[in-house]
Amino acid sequence: MTGRACIVGIGETRYARDKTWSPTTLALNLDAAARAIEDAGLHARDIDGLMPFPGLSNAEEIAANLGLEEVAFASTVHMGGASPVASLLHASLAVTSGAAKHVLLPAGWAGYSGARARQTVSTEAASMPGGGIARDYYIPYGLTAPPQWYALLARRHMAEFGTRAEQLGAIALAMRKHAQANPNAVMRGRPMTLEDYLASPMIADPYRLLDCCLETDGGAAVIVTSHERARDLARRPVHILGVAAGQPYPADEIVSRKDLFRIGLTSAAPRAFAAAGVRPSDADFAQIYDCFTFEVVQQLEEAGFCKRGEGGAFVENGRIELGGELPVNTHGGLLSEAHVVGMSHLVEAVKQLRGEAGERQVAGAELGVVTGFGDFGDGSIAILGSSS
């Protein structure tokens, strides 16, 4: 399906941690959706496909609020933070098969003013990956929350490959640096030093506070249509050259894998790169789902940007900063822009490929990679291009 589906609209709300602002999660999804529809030059009723993020909104309420009387395709991918990019795969299949004409992918949440992530995810077994497995074998021992799950992997990586705190810090610093060039980033105006990073309190040792993503309010959305329809729309389309999703094995349990570091991305990335006919080294930038710093290291390795064990060295010396060999999360990511469950990574990639990223524009960006990461290591990846 090389080059046959495109992203033709993007929308974002304000991103904030603001005690005087308490939008509902649904309102954030709708606001982002409306902006994406306007950006595409479409009318709401042109949308006949909906792929809401799992657990944050649903197709029925989105359709009712946007006046969508004929929804031909409605589906939700249950892969946590890997869902938006995985939804791009499903949406591409829908528009290229003719099941839908224009598919809207809305996401976002009141992650700051509403129920905080740390409260909901950790106390409701049904909301956790693994469900009953977590309830019966993890939570009784105090293993209750995402930074704790992934810290188990980070510690092992540090022991096996010598990955250091300063290298994880290089990721946090790069994201914070990029946020300074993003007017919508929550951490704009709040630069960070390595000393700040190392002095931040331990949260889930070896993770410090500044290894962890933000809790914010915000919504983002994209619209997918076929290459043929994209030509008639308002904006220059961004082409989905390759997109794939995958799961670790087993996906419902995180400690017993024979290969502890193998994640969904490990199998998905080669498929996406092959479909696009490009290599990781061809990418002008990468937006990597950065729920926690080590997951950036792990995904860079498993996607093939470097070899396993070399991710710590890869992120050093400015390589992943703007101006470096592979700018990563040019918007500031979940760590320093806002936590928009992965959708803002797609939106930022589209901005870069349209040449609309302002002071953080990667010069001449033509090819970008976006990943998603969720649950116990579900993965997704899209290779996007400014031309087909």
Binding site: T123, G142, T144, L152
Partner: protein, 134 residues
């Protein structure tokens, strides 16, 4: 403080924790291909067989990795003293999440030999925890 959550004693979890209550650590072992497995599953992921035995473990293993939960993310687990969930790799090859009872978090070392102890946390539930091997 909220009481610590307990496993739900139903299905295969009821069997696993039932053995613990009887002071036996047992894991599933496939009757067809002899592969050990944990967490309990209906079928063997290696060969697909639904036949298994609950086979007695040596009770011995080593520390594989751990996290120190210095920021509480659950009302039953306060920040201080922090809980330190540990992954132990058993001599049989399976891994499980547990805690080490005789060791401060800062004393944990990857590869440290440990052995099972049984903690009767309620009248009905016994959790397997571990201590340093003598």
């Amino acid at each position: 403080m909220t009481a610590r959550p307990l496993p739900q004693l139903s299905g295969l979890a009821k069997e696993f924790y039932g053995f613990c209550k009887a002071r036996e650590l047992r894991f599933q072992r496939c009757s067809a291909c002899s592969a050990w497995r944990h967490v309990p599953r209906e079928r063997c992921g290696e060969c697909g067989s639904a036949d298994f035995r609950w086979e007695r473990s040596s009770g011995r293993g080593h520390v594989f990795t751990w996290v120190v939960a210095t920021r509480s993310m659950h009302p039953a687990f306060p920040s201080s003293p922090p809980v330190a969930p540990v992954v132990v790799e058993m001599d049989e090859g399976v891994r499980l999440v547990t805690e080490i009872v005789d060791c401060l978090p800062q004393e944990l070392v990857i590869g440290m030999p440990v052995e099972v102890v049984y903690d009767d946390v309620t009248e009905d539930v016994t959790l397997p925890r571990f201590r340093r091997q003598a």
